[in-house]
């Protein structure tokens, strides 16, 4: 290891790191924190809805909770947690030493982090946003308090970070693959990360524009959404959902990727129908952009548009079905091991099928008039997001934990966690399908007694407590398992990330591996000596230097956001200057990184 590098303090190291593995862990830590926060918000809402007319929180607080729960879970928890895995695992899976843009990678993280902090500071500075995570105009543009300004700027800043991360993954996956790692040999997690990144690239700018318009409307008197000035309130909905629907696939595709890895590994079989799986992922990504108006069936876009978007939406069921059956047939004929990681993947299949079929029901436009904006929708998207994304995140956590942290999570505790969580999840959300059809709109701060809604809401809350308790078990597991040291390849893995020492060396691969087949490590286990073949002789490895600039640049935008929210222009200008000066410094100061010497690598590899 480079001496100068090792001497620096741990904190400084983490603040300035451009190592994709450390940034991945930062994403997991920050995302985990926001996940707990969003979960707490959900629990407060479920307590409020436990009994009719329960004044546990006020209406205003409830609206803030529901807005922040949705916003936090989507933007600050689910996506960053997936980014954590993508950052750590994708370069390893393609045999790369880092991502294409290590500096931008760090910048992306810090932008997300400061955006999330900004958004959550609204709780203490005049109230959180209260117009729903969808922030429909004109409620958000003309009838809400400063919370919305925090929403607009917090999401704008973290959204830029997301966009940067998306571009980074795209270029990494295209340009940084090891020799022999053709596109059609890439693991499914890498493939789905690739498609999700493409969706980010083409979806997020629509949100950027939407947020920009909302900011101008609220802060500088623009009139896009002011009907009396010739404005149109539905434009926001189009922009939001042109982003918002692909966003769903940005979340679910990487989770699909995780399941594909986990199911194949623990069935001891290669993924069934690999090329069909890749193709289905691409189709889902493409169709994801064609269906945004199915969120707007009741807005009055006309029967022609409704019919077209209904059919287009139903079409997505076909590639999704292909995936489900290919997973089932991956297990078919295999030797299925019920590890916790695999339990989550196995639990995912029926849960997600439930979410998928209610998705088709919702796509039925004429029936959607009954479902729309009721608890049926709440049930549906929680089935998709918890039953799909969250189970995927936990599956990935148990699967990759040894790789990322060098220790295995306790399996017994993990299984308790799985069963309690799965049970709580179904208990909470299954009944909500009925609650919705029985006449309970979503986003209601409470409900009146005598409408036949009481008992099902109580059941739902009980289920939520199971989920909360289960999550605590997971947190405990993370702590108590620390001593449970893991070998480098604890699951008899198939892909490149399991072919390197544990803990993962800073440079990932001492020698860039040569990939000879899909599932390269498995191939070497079956046809070679079980070790990855090297594609190059051992040599000095070039590494990028860390930099403090990303955190300062993000902080600059954070400061500028306060200037905008309170319309104190000097603060805005100072904040933007901080960011611009850092960009300038970055642009003119050439930094060529450093080298890790051959001998050090040999020592380390020998010791490992």
């Amino acid at each position: 290891m480079s001496q100068a590098y090792a001497k620096k303090s741990v904190l400084w190291d983490w603040l300035t790191t451009v190592d994709h593995k450390k940034i991945g862990i930062l994403y997991l830590a920050a995302g985990g924190f926001f996940f707990a926060l969003g979960g707490l918000e959900a629990m407060l809402m479920r307590i409020q809805l436990m009994f009719p007319e329960l004044g546990f929180v006020s209406e205003q607080t409830f609206n803030e909770l529901l807005t922040m729960h949705g916003t936090t879970m989507i933007f600050l928890a689910a996506m960053p947690l997936l980014f954590g895995f993508m950052n750590y695992i994708v370069p390893l899976q393609i045999g790369a030493r880092d991502v294409a843009f290590p500096f931008l990678n760090s910048l992306g993280f810090w932008l997300f982090f400061f955006g999330g902090v900004l958004l959550n500071l609204s709780w203490f500075l005049g109230g959180a946003p209260d117009a729903g995570w969808t922030a429909y105009t004109p409620l958000s543009s003309a009838y809400s308090g400063t919370g919305i300004d925090y929403y607009v700027l917090g999401l704008q800043i973290s959204g830029i970070g997301t966009l940067i991360a998306g571009i980074n993954f795209l270029v990494t996956i295209i340009n940084m693959r090891a020799p022999g790692m053709s596109m059609m040999r890439m693991p499914l997690f890498t493939w789905s990360s690739f498609v999700a990144s493409a969706l980010i690239l083409f979806a997020f700018p629509a949100l950027t524009v939407g947020l920009l318009l909302l900011m101008f409307e609220r802060l500088f008197g623009a009139t896009y959404f002011a009907v009396e000035m010739g404005g149109n309130v539905v434009i926001w909905q189009h922009l939001f959902w042109i982003f918002g629907h692909p966003e769903v696939y940005i979340l679910i595709l990487p989770a699909f990727g995780i399941f594909s890895e986990v199911l194949a590994t623990f069935s001891k079989k290669r993924l069934f129908g690999y090329s069909a799986m890749v193709f289905a992922t691409l189709i889902i990504g493409f169709l994801g952009f064609m269906v945004w108006a199915h969120h707007m069936f009741t807005v009055g876009i006309g029967p022609v548009a409704n019919a077209i978007f209904a059919v287009a939406t139903m079409a997505i069921a076909v590639p999704t079905g292909i995936k489900i059956f290919n997973w089932l047939f991956t297990m078919w004929g295999g030797r299925i091991q019920f590890t916790t990681a695999n339990l989550f993947a196995i639990g995912f299949i029926p849960s997600f099928v439930m979410g998928g079929v209610t998705g088709i029901m919702l796509a039925t436009s004429a029936a959607n008039y009954q479902f729309h904006d009721t608890y049926f929708v709440v049930a549906h998207f929680h089935y998709v997001i918890i039953g799909g994304v969250v189970l995927g995140l936990f599956s990935g956590a148990f699967y990759w934990w040894p790789r990322m942290f060098g220790y295995k999570l306790n399996e017994t505790l993990g299984k308790w966690f799985f069963w309690l969580f799965l049970f709580g999840f179904h208990l909470t959300f299954f009944v909500q399908h009925f609650v919705g059809l029985m006449g309970m709109p979503r986003r209601v701060a409470s409900y009146l007694p005598g409408q036949g809604l009481d008992s099902l809401n109580l059941i739902s809350t009980v289920g939520a407590f199971f989920m909360a308790f289960a999550f605590i078990l997971f947190a405990v597991n993370v702590v108590v398992s620390v001593k449970n040291k893991s070998e480098a390849d604890p699951w008899d893995g198939r892909t490149l990330e399991w072919g390197i020492p544990s803990p993962t060396p800073e440079y990932n691969f001492a020698q860039t591996p040569l990939v000879r087949e899909l599932d390269p490590l498995w191939y070497e286990k079956m046809h070679g000596n079980g070790k990855l073949k090297a594609a190059e002789p051992l040599d000095d490895i070039h590494m990028p230097n860390g930099s403090i600039l990303p955190i300062i640049m993000s902080f600059g935008l954070f400061v500028a956001a306060f200037g905008l929210i309170y319309l104190v222009h000097p603060v805005t200008i100072i904040g933007l200057l901080i960011t611009l000066v850092c960009m300038f410094v970055r642009s003119i100061k050439e930094d060529h990184g450093y080298h890790i010497h051959k001998e050090d690598i040999q020592n380390e590899e020998g010791a490992g």
Binding site: V171, F202, I235
Partner: protein, 206 residues
Amino acid sequence: MAQAEEVKHDQALPPYPEKATLEGKNKFLGFWFFLGGETVLFASLFGTYLGLRNGVADGPTSQELFHLDLVFYMTMILLTSSLTSVFAIINMKKGNYKGLLGWMWATVALGVAFLSFEIYEFWDYTVNYGLGFSTSAFASSFYTLVGTHGAHVLFGVLWISTLLIRYAKTGLTLTNAPKFYTASLYWHFIDVVWVFIFTVVYLMGV
């Protein structure tokens, strides 16, 4: 990669210096992706404008405002600047670093000229026609679309100037070749966006 620091400008560069290193390749590809995202950004702004351009409330309409002669000059200036940036890159490929710098400065100058016209245009609409940012939904969406483009031009001017000053004396290297190349890509992109603005906003608006 690391070789970049050792390469001096008097040494022979490979035929495509902008894509010779992995960093250069990454930058090149990443920038194309970035422009893909920018395309969606402008598409969203165009969509918003098209949805709101008839929402003039009590304010002036586009027919009362737009003068094609002014906009025609602006278009010509920006198209010419695209051409000068092409000359710059041709000079880069030929290894004529002075030529690269000179044509890039010409591009910057034309960009500044374009911005001056745009500022004049906005000033004219605001003061002489009473089209403030808040006058109508049309006004807001017009200023947002055209203004966002203008902000991109401004950023391009600042970026290219920074490159020109920073690398005034270094000669062409494997480090700065990708930077000049991506800057010229960016410049073409904002030029193309302007062509759409010229068509969709101005030609369809008179």
